[in-house]
């Protein structure tokens, strides 16, 4: 009996099996109840004790070896069979997906968020007021009397409905009425910003009948014009992300502040694009000033003990400047392509 020969034969037959059934037959032929190796093991009983010992060990090793080869082959066949089955389930990875608009947050939302955060770090809480205002809150309380030329600085929308003074309601032309509402409802110290929608009847590439402003108001015992300058410079540095920022404050006129100022930021044109911060041209950013004592008195604030400053700026304008956008009308067009191009994904919001 040649153990080696049996092993060779078995190895060959295992190798030649191409499916699980063949392999099972091989297994039965060698290791089954009447299998070759089983038969050999049975024949041991006819041998001498010594032979039994040595041949027995060899046969057991043979059985182990064949069993292992069958198991390996079995796994190979199984993987092969599954893969060949999966190949039939194949889908075309190269089929391109349909286009879809990537969802974004509107750039104005990003600006709202940043303005609230930056002023928040300086101690300003957020206040608000309605878009449909009374003539008194939008004008008279702010020291803009009827027939005053300053009213013509702003083209006002009127509503058919009339307020309790018999005057038509107006769409607020600025966020400044929130100053009045806050001063009437709260006691100083007051430190608020009020972002929101504002309206003027005007429409071209830089004017929209609806736009956004943020108002700021700081009233305490001693807030002065130096504080006003410092606050606004700090805001602009952070918002526009320019540390070395050249600015100028120049005298202006708003009936509700005195002295009044407008703040300009220097810019230059680099590669046909506006670069903010340096240069010899100026861009108007916002209007501001010390709150006119007449306004404080209109709101019953004691002007002997309290003073402060206010400012207002166009949020659409600073958004356009920051991101190089040119047509304010596209902000409100509802064009999803524009939003996808100019908006912010959640990670950046």
């Amino acid at each position: 009996m040649d153990i080696k020969k049996v092993l060779n034969e078995a190895t060959k037959e295992i190798e030649q099996s191409s499916n699980q059934l063949d392999l099972l037959n091989v297994k039965v032929a060698y290791l089954g109840k009447k299998g070759k190796i089983t038969e050999l093991l049975k024949s041991l009983k006819d041998l001498s004790l010594d032979e039994k010992k040595s041949t027995g060990a060899e046969l057991n090793q043979l059985r182990g070896e064949v069993d292992k080869l069958i198991k390996i082959k079995f796994n190979q066949i199984k993987v092969e069979e599954i893969n060949s089955k999966l190949r039939n389930e194949s889908l075309d990875f190269s089929f391109p997906p349909p286009n879809s608009i990537s969802p974004k947050v509107h750039p104005i939302s990003k600006t709202f968020d940043e303005v609230i955060t930056i002023f928040g770090s300086m101690g300003y809480s957020v206040a608000e007021g309605p878009d449909i205002e009374t003539d008194y809150f939008n004008f008279s309380a702010l020291n803009i009397p009827e027939n005053h030329p300053a009213r013509e600085m702003q083209d006002t929308f009127y509503i058919d409905d009339k307020d309790k003074d018999g005057k038509p309601f107006v769409l607020r032309t600025h966020t400044s009425p929130v100053q009045i509402r806050t001063l009437l409802n709260e006691k100083p110290p007051i430190k608020i910003i009020a972002p929101g929608r504002t309206y003027r009847c005007d429409s071209d590439s830089t004017h929209s009948p609806m736009f956004h402003q943020v108002e700021g108001l700081f009233i305490n015992e001693n807030a002065n014009m130096g504080d006003l300058k410092g606050t606004l410079i700090e805001f602009c540095k952070q918002f526009f992300n320019v540390q070395d920022l050249k600015v100028r404050f120049r005298p202006s006129y708003f009936p509700f502040t005195e002295p009044s100022a407008e703040m300009d930021i220097a810019y230059e044109i680099v590669n046909n694009k506006i670069k903010l911060g340096q240069g010899d041209r100026w861009l108007e950013i916002l209007g501001c000033g010390m709150v006119n004592p007449i306004v404080l008195e209109n709101c019953n604030v004691d002007t002997k003990n309290f003073q402060g400053f206010a400012f207002g700026m166009g949020l659409d304008r600073i958004t356009m400047l920051k991101y190089g956008l040119t047509d304010i009308r596209s902000f409100f067009s509802g064009n999803l392509n524009w939003i996808a191009n100019n908006g912010f994904s959640i990670g950046d919001f």
Partner: protein, 797 residues
Amino acid sequence: MKFSYSWLCEHLETDKSATEIGDALTNIGLELESLSDYSSYSKFVVATIKDFKKHPNADRLNICKVDDGANTYQVICGANNVKKGLKGIFAKEGMYIPGTQIHLKKGKIRGETSEGMLLSERELNLSDDHEGIIELSENFKNGTSAVEALKLDDPIFEIGITPNRGDCLSIRGVARDLSAKGMGKLKPLKYEKIKKLEFESPISWSIKNDDNSCEYVVSRYFKDVNNTKSPEWLQKKLISLGLRPINALVDITNFITVDLGRPLHVFDADKVGKKLDMRLANSNEKILALDNKDYTLDVSSTVIADNNNALAIAGIIGGDHSGCTENTKNVFLEVAIFNPNSVAKTGRSLGINSDARYRFERGLDKNMVLEGLEYASYLINKICGGSVSKNTDAGKLVTNEHKIKYDFNYFNKVIGLDLEPQTQVKILKDLEFQINERSDNECDVLVPSWRNDVKNNIDIVEEIIRIYGYDNINVSVPSSSKDEINNIENSLVNKKFKTISKLKKTLVSNGVSEVITFSFHSNRAQEILTGDTSLKISNAISDDQSFMRNSMIFNHLESAELNFKKGIKNIQLFEIGPIYNSSQSQENILSLLISSQDDTNSIYKSVNFNFYSLTELASKLISSLNFDIKQFNISRSTSNIYHPGQSAEVHMGKKLISRYGKVHPLIMEEFPKLKNTYTIELFFENLPIETISRINSINITDSQFQFSEKDFSFIFEKQQNLYEVQKYVTGIDKNLIKNVEFFDLYESKDLGDSIKSVTFRVTIQSKEKTLEEKDLEQLHKNILEKVSNKFKAKIRT
């Protein structure tokens, strides 16, 4: 306001350049809007085209031989007015062309060398004209500078005057302010008073209205004048401001309006009666004005009138009939003080924007009445000859100088800058305020007659800092205090903005884009949605923007339609913004629109968006605010925005929290291209902000023991609200019933029109143990019995 450098210098003795003056103007609050300073244009010179021929490689170009008096150059030129002998303005290579903002390079144009350029007006920034190159008269010598040839040697300033500075609506006023800034010295006015006022005026005044709209009027009568063309100096001045010279009398009044800021009017004395009145207009009184338009007046307007007619609208515009022409022989000059309010009111109601109105509205220097009268008399007499009457007047001239008690420390407190009293006093004196010092800290300030806007202490502070310079104010940044940080943390509005950010993040991560649309919507939208008609915008820009919106649905459908037209098939957008229920009720809501076309992509085909997908999205939104939609009362929506059979409303108590559903087909008729359109409105302001702001609010019990599921099928009344069933089943054993989920709904004719068959799966799990079969059976039985009793439901087997 516009003025030239040379005109300014007639009032201001100065050695400052136009640029320095321009900077100073901005620094004192007279914002320089533009300054045309052409001194750098002297490098461009007059040159002649001696000869030209067609460019061999370009039809529209010519090769010109150009002579600038010193050399001859070859210039390639594309202008259509190129001709032999043309004199134009020439720029050599290397020069900077202001209109195109480029430096000229020597180079070849289509293979031919070009050594310079003949310029158009646009290339010189003189106008928008780019039709051809500049053509000059033949008289100019080659080599003459462009500044001389084009008469650009007098820079023109254009400044913005804020409404408080009526005193600077004159060149003299601007010069006065500049002198206070140290830009030069104000010169005295150069004119002589008429030596002999020879006769009594045949025309007299009376002021008939007692509403103070005319305080004072004074006049002179000029006999035997010759109303010619104005002398050249006067014509040139008016032209430099873009005004058209008419005749001497009219030009003189226009000149004095700009030069002194003093509007006045000349009547042809032979066309008016002998007694003139200042009176209120009669109702529906008509006048043909100098602008050739008919105006109908009402009783609030003041007119100048004779016995028969209104001759002029006081302070605004003269009448055509009584105006001066070249044939005028006798003139009646009127100088008056009109009330700013009544001029403003009349001007606005008639829609007339005249130079006179502009100045009267902003308040005039009352001391300038007699000065203006004298100055005008001098010019009329000098230019037109004739003789001059004595004054005739009515009313009372009360000068408007007033006194303010001023505290020097107030400046330091408001500005945050210690400025010595003597520095403050010097600035005020430079501005011609008179000062009487009372003590070290206080003084009396007498405000000059032209500064109607300076009324109290803060106005004086402004005057001082305006001249001292805003740049000199020290900068400080007030830091935030603990109280302020607390205020922010507790502020409801801050919390609201956080909520809004949260909603935006939720939506964008669910594939919805944010839009912002106008707070208005159209007439049609208002009609269909039956909003409050008093929310109409009286002076709307267009019918599309004529009402304050009571819903965003129309704006969003319009946006969806726009995007559909751009080829976007799957539209998902939202807006967080205001809607208006009345003029005193505004709320911020979230409104979302999903409009999807039928999916034609057979490979990527997804399940079509439907009412149930919408419900899931609404529920997600509500849970992003820490609420569970199931805790609210949910019913069919009754709003006319929604499909009456595919919509729902969510209430918390009586407060509306959300509405959602398919958009009502009647609305969709307006947008025929859009299909399958759904909307959600979330009235997040009605939710308690404290819950929204909570960080950990969800409380799911987690158990390691085995769960079991059991399905139940019941036949309910069709109207049965399944949220109630869900709530009830969950309540049967709160400890064991983890979840009740509906997964099958069957309605059919066979079953009957008034009933529906519903299947739900109950998940049962204990926190303490694995439940035994008998516990489960007991619970199942319990559910079957209780549900069928409570809802009169039939158990389906």
